[in-house]
Symmetry: C2
Subunit: 337 residues, 2 copies
């Protein structure tokens, strides 16, 4: 199985991306196609190429973080994002992962791979591990800022397939993110989405609230991409802040009590918090509803995050998630819903 | 100065409310009017009444947490929330604080005190202390689920007066919560609000993102009440979770190294984190835009939180926040804006 990796995407590209790809090739038993500028990648990965079955696919344009997505994808056909997505389209790669400009990855996926039948708005699903008992897919965590109720129903369906196929949950609990638990709560979008979700055959458990992210209430939490993006960045900001504080406390303690940093981090639970909160540990988000496997890694991904994202890409491809999403029945938009 | 306190509001009423009120009377030099069932309050506060200049105002109905706000306020004229709000209306109290049903407190304030001239939608402003350098007023943190752009401009004005008068910031930095920093980002509400905010004389610094809650980027962060409520509860949920973990780690360490719990909490920064994250430490939120000083305390408030909320009520009344809000000029709604 070949996984295409955007070697030019993210704050630490290409060095950390290549390091992560090498690790993944060693640990996950996948063949990697590094997409980027051949000369540089040859220098960075050269000695590993043959041994690990890695290849380089030349892409001599780079799309920056602040470029306008549609314009960049249209005007830079030789960019790593466009070429990587095309590898999936042609069937040369089973999946593409990128830590680059999210908007550009999203637009390239939609325009090159296309939407799956019945899905108006592909969405980003992010796996959160904040509750003690399991993982929650949070969808849409940033792709669609203005949504209609039918879109949220589709997000719920996409999340349902994901939780069933990837997390192995027979009947995933679907919650609607809202500003109160009772039916009837919410802004217009949430209220109307609630009514539509009630009519589906999904295991819809009703509204969930902000504090439910840390409780084991739902396997899939559905919201619009505006709210989703803000929530995700809030969680990330608080997480960074806490980890910094914990690390500082750890330093004070390890000096005072002559403990090794490792033992201390373990005893203080820093490791388990880091796993929960640190984007460096995260495997990235999955773009759901397009005709191909696309994984969006965090822009600040270092080697470990890239390796984890490649692992997630492999799992997604092995489970034939895309095919399973195709087989689902989607509600049709009805009037202005 | 008399502060009216809803002795029947919140999970720990009336015991903790009365304890908090007694502490506040001792520490903040305010006269407290306890609003609730006279017999019970007499038993709880009896010996302190004369000494601390506390009084009891009889209210023999209680509005529960799950009651419908409008119905409850209309059908229970003898409830502590209605009677407490009336004390402010008549001028018998300088402010009213309640940890009871937020919707009911909000509706009682609007229907009894009325909106201030020019403000279509009063809003809830919550003071967050997540950044290391200061406090941020987060508005609207839950009152208005469906908003139009003009409402967000009014929230910005309300927050501006609050930050100037209560936080003492000459020219408060106003940020719009959005899913990206660049102009043009956001859902329709955010984009149109951005354009309107740009035209004001406020110190509008543009869009802020979820991770900016922990950075010292803005003194006032403006959003609609749907997003605001979800964000606030997410922060609260993570905070609870985090404090629990820290406390557990603290227990392990204090046993292992025979440290006093106090010293350990101080060394590990648990105290300062608790101050940032714990609703028990928080002084509650302020209802801005109604004709009177109303403080909404957290439903789970215990004595300390009630005491702090009373302190906040006193400060708000002393600074004549309501009068200052009246003097501000408000943009008029224009067409469907």
């Amino acid at each position: 199985m070949i996984i295409a990796v955007d070697a030019e995407g993210g704050d630490y590209a290409p060095h950390e991306v290549v390091k992560g790809a090498i690790k993944a090739a060693q640990e996950h038993e996948v063949e990697i196609a590094l997409v980027g500028r051949r000369d540089i990648l040859h220098v960075l990965a050269g000695k590993h190429l043959d041994k690990l079955g890695m290849t380089i696919v030349d892409a001599n344009e780079v799309i920056g973080f602040h470029e306008h997505a549609v314009e960049a994808v249209t005007c830079k056909p030789q960019s790593s994002i466009v070429i990587g997505t095309n590898l999936v389209k042609e069937g040369s790669a089973a999946a593409f992962i990128s830590a680059g400009n999210t908007g550009a990855v999203f637009y390239a996926a939609i325009s090159i791979l296309g939407r799956l039948n019945g899905i108006e708005r592909p969405a980003i699903g992010t796996l959160l591990g904040l509750s003690s008992n399991g993982q929650t897919l949070f969808i849409d965590s940033g792709a669609n800022t203005d949504c209609r109720p039918i879109h949220l129903v589709h997000f719920a369906r996409l999340g349902n397939v994901y939780a069933r196929e990837i997390l192995g949950i027979a009947s995933p609990r679907i919650g609607l993110l809202n500003n109160g638990a009772e039916p009837g709560k919410g802004n217009r979008l949430a209220r109307e989405s609630y009514d539509l979700l009630k009519q589906t055959d999904l295991n819809f458990i009703g509204n969930v609230e902000g504090h439910d992210f840390v409780r084991d209430r739902a396997d899939v939490i559905v919201t619009d991409g505006f709210t989703g993006n803000i929530i995700l960045k809030t969680i990330e900001g608080l997480g960074d802040n806490w980890l910094n504080s914990l690390t500082q406390v750890g330093q004070v303690f390890s000096k005072a009590y002559r403990l090794s940093r490792q033992a201390l981090h373990r005893d203080m639970g820093i490791d388990s918090w880091a796993k929960k909160l640190d984007y460096k540990e995260s495997g990235g988000a999955t773009l759901l509803g397009v005709n191909g496997n696309i994984i969006i890694a965090h822009g600040r991904s270092q080697a470990k995050a890239i390796m984890n994202a490649i692992g997630m890409a492999k799992r997604t491809a092995e489970k034939e998630l895309c095919q399973k999403i195709k087989e689902e029945q989607y509600e049709q938009a009805n009037g202005d819903k």
